[in-house]
Amino acid sequence: MYYTLFITVILTAVVLVVGAYVIAKLVGPRSYNPVKGEPFECGIPTRGSSWMPAHVGYYLFAVLFLMFDVETVFLYPWATVFNSLSANYGGAMLFSIFFFMLVLVLGLAYAWRKGALEWK
């Protein structure tokens, strides 16, 4: 049942967008002139393409995010069973996760030390 509902919700979102677009197309005015098709800038024609190379800092943070996000994904299953298993396997669970967190923190510390967290 939940998968049916999940598909229903996604379809609802799609219907909302398509429906509003269709209404707008039907009742909205239609006209064209070349100035309308230009990108919105200060008034004079745009020079060059906007798809140009971006600051490398963005990329650096994206890579860092990827690393940490994959690591935090592994925390979810552990967090779910921690409360119920900590009575019997408390020591082992604590040790294993502190070791895991140590790796995570060392990664952050390394990135910090290397200056990856500075915006240059």
Partner: protein, 368 residues
């Protein structure tokens, strides 16, 4: 023993009405229920968007010693409806050299992320639309689709402002997802379940809201969640992606009419979803205020869960609006510094604190 709250069996009653009283087969019953759920989600989504936009305008006006919209309808109440109608009848047009395909897909992704997360909210006992056993995890997964939508919109517009805004938006949203996820993990450690309804069930009873149960780490996690959630909803002081004084309107500069409307809708609904998740996870969701005195508790239990949920959520919404209209906008380096050098280590500390609290039995509980 599981306590049953008022109105919690309404969905089951409707289901048995279709199946037993009307004698429909499984297929038709499910179909009718799915259509109804879709309509309800749409209605709630649209209504809440209108209420939130109106609320934001009034709140912002009073914070700035103005009176806000007053002309359309009594006390300006119909202003937002007039705005929505205006947006609907505007022309939709493209920039000539934009990437048309990505430009059209972007609003879909943003709205799917927003409606998808919206459907996870627990309105009352048994009133969840989506209630997977991996709820919290799926929630964070769906919410990150929105980043792709925003980046796509900015990139496809072929406008220099939009591209800069898309870059800023993407790096900000993915950064703040980190501490958002870590705070949710700290709540999962305490409740031992990722299912949204399970998390709320764990908070029913006297002083059982996670913010009381988990005391210091939970309160810290709530604060970090509010800050990161504010950034995740792209709202001030973190509204770098649409800093109107430098980037005109950011990633939705080139969207006209309803195309812009979708981003606007999603922004306000994301505010509501973030507040709703903060309420669900830390402030007890639909769980009523119980203080351990039987007479007081039973009176509180008579108030339906949806009233509690909406009440608490709107308190958090007001808090986030207050933050938005009080603090000046941060720069991109300050935003990233705040996340990676302060909130990230802090949320890791919160997890460690929470683990210590849970494993040594230091959580706050009242037996009885």
């Amino acid at each position: 023993m599981e306590k049953v709250y008022i109105l919690s069996s309404l969905p089951q009653m409707f289901d048995s009405l279709l199946r037993d009283t009307c004698g429909l087969s499984n297929f038709w019953a499910v179909l009718i229920e799915c259509v109804l759920v879709g309509l309800l989600v749409l209605a709630a989504y649209a209504t809440l968007a209108i209420i939130l936009i109106f609320m934001e305008r009034k709140v912002c006006a009073y914070f700035q010693c103005r009176i806000g919209p007053m002309r359309v309808g009594p006390w300006g109440t119909l202003q937002v409806i007039a705005d929505v109608l205006k947006m609907l009848i505007k022309e939709i047009f493209f920039v000539d050299r934009s990437d048309k395909l990505l430009y059209c897909i972007a609003p879909f992704l943003v709205i799917i992320a927003s409606v998808g997360t919206f459907s996870f909210l627990p309105w009352s006992q048994g009133w969840n639309v989506l209630d997977f056993n991996v709820g919290i995890f799926l929630l964070t997964a769906i919410s990150s689709i929105g980043v792709i939508g925003i980046f796509m919109a900015g990139w496809a517009s072929n406008n220099k402002y939009s591209v800069v805004s898309a870059m800023r938006g993407a790096v900000q949203l993915i950064s703040y997802e980190m501490s958002l996820g870590l705070c949710l993990i700290s709540a999962v450690i305490l409740t031992g379940t990722m299912q949204i309804s399970g998390i709320v069930e764990a908070q029913t009873g006297p002083w059982q809201w996670l913010i009381f149960q988990g005391h210091i780490p939970a309160i810290l996690a709530f604060l970090v969640f509010c800050i990161a959630g504010n950034a995740e909803a792209n709202r001030g002081p973190f509204d770098l992606a649409e800093a109107e004084s430098e980037l005109t309107a950011g990633y939705h500069t080139e969207y006209s009419g309803m195309g812009f409307g979708f981003f606007y809708l999603a922004e306000y609904l994301n505010l509501f979803v973030v507040s709703g998740i903060a309420t669900t996870v830390f402030l007890g969701g639909w769980a009523p205020v119980n203080i351990g005195i039987a007479a007081f508790d039973s009176v509180m239990d008579y108030i339906p869960g949806i009233v509690w949920f909406l009440g608490k959520t709107f308190v958090v919404v007001f808090l986030l609006m207050w933050i938005r209209w009080t603090f000046p906008r941060l720069r991109i380096d300050q935003i990233l510094k705040l996340e990676w050098k302060y909130l990230m280590p802090l949320s890791l500390c919160i997890i460690v604190l929470m683990v210590i609290c849970v494993s040594f039995g230091l959580t706050f509980t009242i037996n009885g």
